[in-house]
Amino acid sequence: MTLLGLDVGTAACKGLLLDPGEGITGTARRDYPLSFPAPGRVELDPGLVWDAVRDVVGELAARAGAAGRPVRALTFSVSCDEAVAVDAEGRALGPCIMALDTRSSAEAERFERTVGRRRIYELTGLPVHAMFPLVRLLWLREHEPALFRRTARFLAWHEYLALRLGLEPVGDPSVAARTLAYDIRARAWSDELLAAAGLRASLFARVQPSGTAIGELPAAAAGTLGLGAGVRLVTGGMDQSMAALGSGAIEPGAAMVGTGTWQAVTVVAEAPILTEAMLASGFAFGPHIAPDRYAAMATNASGGSLLRWARDVFAPGEPYERLLPDRFERPTDLLVLPHFEGSVSPWMDPASRGAIVGLDLATGRQELLQAIIEGVTFELRENLERMEAGGLAIRDLRATGGGARSTAWLQLKADATGRPVSTVNIGEPGAFAAACLAGVGAGVFASVAEPIARFVRTTATYEPRPPMAAAYGERFARYRRLYPALSGLDRPTRRGRAGAAPPGPTPGR
């Protein structure tokens, strides 16, 4: 028998076949386009997601079937900050509003003022942001009242897909925690927050721990997907925590830094630390996938996106493999503030902008590229150090994502943070973790720790090189003064200038 894990992201659905004895036996992928109907608006058609899921499952089910090991259970790892409105018949009511969409800032500010940012954080583990489903519902009620009246449920992707597969929409704590309506310590929907928002609990799905079997797919649904009878749908989780789990981060202190378009670090903790210091840096806490664990998360609005920008401006058409050497041999003499899309953690300033300091006539293209990667990595270090200062233990760091394909970047992560950084043998950790949970729900594994221990291996560990680490330590001390130095100044804008940043975090964009 085979287990099927699916990762439903903002740009693609990826699927993975896991044989409980032999490991990963196949992968597949289908992309779908986001739509940008107006400035600040970002949407995704749920029908396109459904089509992609159907095609990925179909392809992998056929492969598993042909090998004589049909799929027995499937699970979703999902992009978590958005929800699909469905009517009483379970039909999607329009496109899904995606996380980068900026339409609901006013509603976010109002809700934050009503309940108080500390109180919200203490209940949900989230700094208020315009993207969370509770805030989107407030926007819908205000701006699209007819659609809001017809909305029976507001479902995360795996809940929506469960519904489309003919099962009850059941979610999991890690995704529920991203709605801004869920009490992460009680592990239940928060009456207090729902009452403050004036929303009924029935809008949201029932929640079961990750790895719980919801039911067997009805025959019609199974047939559409190319699956046989008796396939169980098992609850999954939110993509970042799933990827952390799939890369082996299961015990407290284990951390994963994913470097894709953006960079995000996830640290496994025993309990959330919901202090003012953590909130001020924008660190989110939520239930982890593994039971009795939490995940702390910090996001940088920069990562591979900056390397691509630099490539397109300074070396257009150059393949990434040729852009970077095997290793950087010395630090640059530049500092880059990587706020090309504003900043999330730890500065929480969406109006901040990118800066390059220290340029001279001898600065070359290679140095600029390296400096940009250094800036992104210093932001990571700033987050790691603030998390530790706030009481979070960070024992080890594993790197995933596109940025983990460059040995120069991996070694720089170690040198510039002063911490060893490892890579693992799992290319799609989110889908892999989903397949592992499918096995738990199917009764194949006693717990998710079992397949993690069996299949996840460290492929390399990059140790910080002492002279580089010392040199980066000096530069980091300078780096962390850069945002404070610049944030008090007026900012250049299209028409002239904008005032300096107000103190404190700003919800939404």
Binding site: V313, E318, R353, V357, L359, T363, E474, A485, D490, P492
Partner: protein, 529 residues
């Protein structure tokens, strides 16, 4: 029979010469490129025989060979101030140490400033001690090359070395002398005997005269070497930027030349000199005149830098592109780009398409430290306001705007010192193409005149020669106005706002930038050892 005037300028990377008629019209030109020797970081030198004299001889011979009329007078300008030490027989003892770009004497600048006091130096000489000043370089020579110093009898710069070879006279013009800080007293217009004796004991100082005065006449050996008839009057000459200012029409107080070059250099004629610690105060071209000068550490250099790092598609990409582009009727495939550095025209065109202010980018142009008005060799370049939407055109435009902000800062500094520039005249290679000059007018809110003749200092030298020969006067129109670039008033508000941000950036980031400069210097030392 009309007379001709010969003007020759010895520049940093090339020498140029012109023959003009007595009204300033150029009838012939010649040029000789040459190398700039950078033997060590911070050192900049020329071989006086192989570069200065040899260029002059070649240019003089070429121009005289084509001359249909006799040459009435000669004048030479050159980079400066320089320090070329020579022995008793006027033989160069080492390569010439060049002007401000040679920064070897930093310790000596500090020592002399400490010894005599910054205020006293400024009051007596009109300028602070900087890498322009010759005094510290003489002290450097004594300290670091004592054997050469022991044989040194006289010193020359490019213009005065040529004058000596042509005429046998040991003369230096007042303007060049006024840049030999702290050896020249500007109010008295003479050498400062006490300080000269302490800094350069035993050094014979040249006789002083004004740039357009006759320093001497071509001697027989001078005639034999160059083909210029013996007896031809030779003017004292001067430093290149001041000869260019003369060509550009800087005469009355408030007339200000903006020289758009590798570095932006600004010379303003002033009525009375009020020395300013961030600018050079000098004697001018015409007897009794004074100028204030300011220089940025970069300007055109930024465009060269950007061109070298801004990519064109790699060859494989171009090949792939070629396969997709249909061939024309002649069978040729025309590609929009060629591999290598993008041409300036491409970058300028991209910058033109970007709105003023580059969609919210501000750059500090201190890519080689900064001279006026910060005088901070540890200042560095900075870009602020970057987003993923900013492309190559935005960055190039922001670099041009940065030089314009630097010009505005200098003009305001001059005005703050009681010498408000009133008439701006733009010269130099950077005034071709149009966009850069327009940006400077838009950012400063000031119009700029563009003179017709743009070859530079050698044209001004021809005026000096004409005055020396009695064929022209300072008031003689020498270079008529070709065009005026006017500021766009609609952009004033936007640029004023961005200029305020520009001014706030250096103080806000100075600590980090200095730390980076120090780390850079430490790293370089480690790698050298």
């Amino acid at each position: 029979m009309d007379a001709l005037l010969l003007g020759v300028d010895i520049g940093t990377s090339s020498s140029k010469g012109v023959l003009t008629d007595p009204a300033g019209r150029i009838v012939a030109r010649a040029e000789r490129p040459h190398g700039l020797s950078l033997p060590r970081p911070g050192w900049a030198e020329h071989d006086a025989e192989a570069v200065w004299w040899s260029d002059f001889v070649a240019i003089a011979r070429e121009l005289l060979a084509a001359a249909l009329d006799p040459v009435a007078a000669v004048a030479v300008s050159g980079i400066g101030p320089c320090l070329l030490p020579v022995d008793e027989e006027d033989r160069p003892l080492r390569p010439a140490i060049l002007y401000g770009i040679d920064t070897r004497a930093t310790a000596e600048i500090a020592e002399l400033t400490g010894r005599y006091g910054a205020e006293r130096i400024l009051e007596r000489g009109g300028s602070p001690l900087t890498s322009q000043a010759v005094g510290p370089k003489l002290l450097w020579l004594r300290r670091h090359e004592p054997q050469i110093w022991a044989r040194t009898r006289r010193f020359f710069m490019a213009s005065s070395f040529i004058v000596r070879r042509l005429t046998g006279e040991y003369v230096l013009d007042h303007h060049s002398a006024s840049q030999c800080d702290p050896l020249y007293a500007i109010d008295e217009e003479r050498w400062v005997a006490d300080w000269a004796a302490e800094i350069a004991p035993g050094l014979e100082l040249p006789r002083l005269c004004w740039p357009a005065e006759v320093a001497g006449r071509v001697s027989a050996p001078g005639a034999a070497a160059t083909g210029i008839p013996a007896g031809t009057p030779v003017a004292a000459g001067t430093i290149d930027a001041w000869a260019e200012a003369a060509s550009a029409g800087v005469r009355a107080p408030g007339d200000t030349m903006l020289m758009y070059g590798t570095t932006m250099f600004i010379v303003e004629a002033v009525a009375a000199l009020r020395p300013h610690p961030a600018m050079w105060g000098t004697a001018g071209i015409f007897p009794g005149s004074r100028t204030l000068a300011a220089g940025m550490a970069t300007s055109g250099a930024l465009t060269g830098w950007f061109r070298s790092i801004a990519g064109e598609p790699p060859y494989e990409t171009l090949l792939a592109e070629a396969e997709r582009v249909p061939a024309g009727a002649d069978g040729l495939v025309v590609l929009p780009s060629i591999a290598g550095e993008p041409p300036y025209e491409t970058l300028l065109a991209e910058a033109e398409r970007v709105p003023a202010g580059a969609d919210g980018l501000v750059v500090l142009p201190y890519f080689a430290g900064e001279r006026t008005p910060l005088f901070d060799p540890e200042a560095r370049g900075l870009v602020l306001g970057l987003t993923l939407s900013h492309g190559r055109g935005h960055l190039y435009r922001a670099l041009l705007e940065a030089t314009a902000f630097g010009v505005r800062h200098i003009l305001e500094t001059m005005a703050g010192g009681g010498a408000a520039p009133s008439r701006l005249i733009a010269v130099g290679g950077g005034t071709r193409g149009g966009l850069w000059t327009r940006i400077v007018s838009d950012v400063t809110g000031r119009p700029q005149e563009l003179p017709r003749e743009t070859i530079g200092a050698s044209h001004g030298d021809a005026l000096l020669a004409a005055i020396a020969a009695g064929l022209a006067f300072p008031e003689t129109p020498w270079n008529e106005r070709q065009a005026i670039v006017s500021p766009d008033p609609a952009l004033a508000g936007r640029y004023d706002a961005l200029y305020d941000i520009y001014r706030s950036l250096y103080p806000a980031t100075r600590a980090q930038t200095h730390a980076l400069a120090r780390l850079q210097a430490e790293g370089a030392t480690e790698r050298a050892n």
